[in-house]
Amino acid sequence: MNGGSTIDAILILGAGQGSRLKPLTNNSPKPLLSINAKGETIVGRLLSQIRQAFPRASIFMNFNSLPEIVVEYMARVSTNLRPELIYERIRLGPTKSVVEFSKLNYKDILVINGDLVLSNTEFTRMSQAIDVPNKAFVVVHRRKKEDARSQVNIDANGFVTSIMELTEVGNHEFGSSFEEEVLSLSGIYKFPTNITRDYIAQHEEPLSPKLIEFWLSQIEVKSFEWDDLRYSIDSLETLTRARMQIEKEL
């Protein structure tokens, strides 16, 4: 699988506070929450999928809260899956984390939110589709505009033409339907690092629109749309739904 990939490094974003999942995250960072009865964790599943798709890439994960627990967990992960960890003494926020990571000597990198639960099939399909040298990709999915935090507009060929950040209540134009669906960012980005090295992050949150606007000014950005299972674990409800779906997969 993909042994000739040009993606040479993967950064899992795991430095969030997990505040929407308290009290579950009081003693366990969000990526370490279990997602099935066998005790598989969100990040454990991601690591297996990443290694399967990118056998030779270096894997990294940043973290901030409960550092001893993260290190203890990762020290038990088999060495071929074990990521190099980046401990942020002061939480940088995802944009600055990515910008800092871009300074390392890697060419094409993939950034994945550490709270994503993805189907194996879809992960493989995605990893093959975005593995194009010197191209930037964002992975998008359809969701109701009122629930979306970002809106990505693409042309007929899948190239991103614009991106906007949506407020919590959505940027609804007068008369637009609340059922309207938009393409929204999924928390997976692939890009050549040379286009972000000069970028100086001005905003902590969110990662995507500001940085992607910058990419758009420098390079063509293509989109990849998810078909099926993809959960961003941001509530007990999404965690439960992901667990149910994974049990079915097994």
Partner: protein, 197 residues
């Protein structure tokens, strides 16, 4: 060129105990080094070095000269056994009761990189071909400031403790490390790293 393997003492080669694990740690240090050497595939290509903060004399628990003599004998015996190639020890502490060892700005006390830098130079080693193994994030910071390629942190409940005395001139916000569970696991991590370096 050989690769430098920098090892912390307390908590890595011998147990970290309040009254100075080094005092009773010789046999454990010997065993740890034998285990590491036998588990690293190309151990003959590594220069084995210890970098350790030792504060028993600074805390006036042992007369300074007596402790210095003990430490020298401890490491020279390991060198005679061909288990170790060199060492550097920092006896300072910013709040030392022993005034001659009181220093807030010495370049040697980890997390400062002074001991690593001097051993790199003394042994003609490249920082990009060298690594450190520690049980505290202060070891990792010292390795990072010295530009070491790999920093391995042994997992433990006190790994991320910072004290007022753990200061560096450089403000480091991001620390890169590879976690490991025990010395055998450290050898696995080094083997994988060595394979690519």
């Amino acid at each position: 060129m050989k690769k430098g393997l920098f090892l912390d003492g307390d908590g890595v080669l011998w147990p970290d105990v309040a009254l100075g694990g080094i005092l009773t740690g010789f046999n454990q240090a010997k065993k740890s080094l034998i285990d590491l050497k036998s588990s690293i595939f190309d151990s003959e290509n590594f220069v084995f070095l210890v970098v350790s903060n030792q504060t028993l004399a600074a805390r006036n628990l042992i007369p300074e000269q007596e402790f210095r003599d003990f430490v020298t004998d401890f490491f020279e015996r390991l060198i005679d056994l061909e288990l170790l190639d060199g060492y550097a020890i920092c006896f300072h502490h910013p709040k030392a009761l022993n005034e001659s060892l009181r220093s807030a700005n010495c370049s040697c006390r980890k997390p400062r990189p002074g001991m690593i830098n001097s051993l790199l130079e003394k042994n003609s080693l490249s920082s990009e071909k060298s690594l450190i193994v520690g049980d505290r994030v202060t070891d990792i910071i010292a390795g990072q400031l010295a530009g070491l390629s790999l920093k391995v942190l042994l997992s433990g409940p006190r790994s991320f403790e910072f004290n007022d005395s753990d200061r560096t001139e450089s403000e480091i916000t991001s620390i890169r490390l590879k976690p490991a569970s025990d010395l055998l696991d450290v050898a696995h991590v080094i083997n994988e790293w060595g394979f690519n370096n």
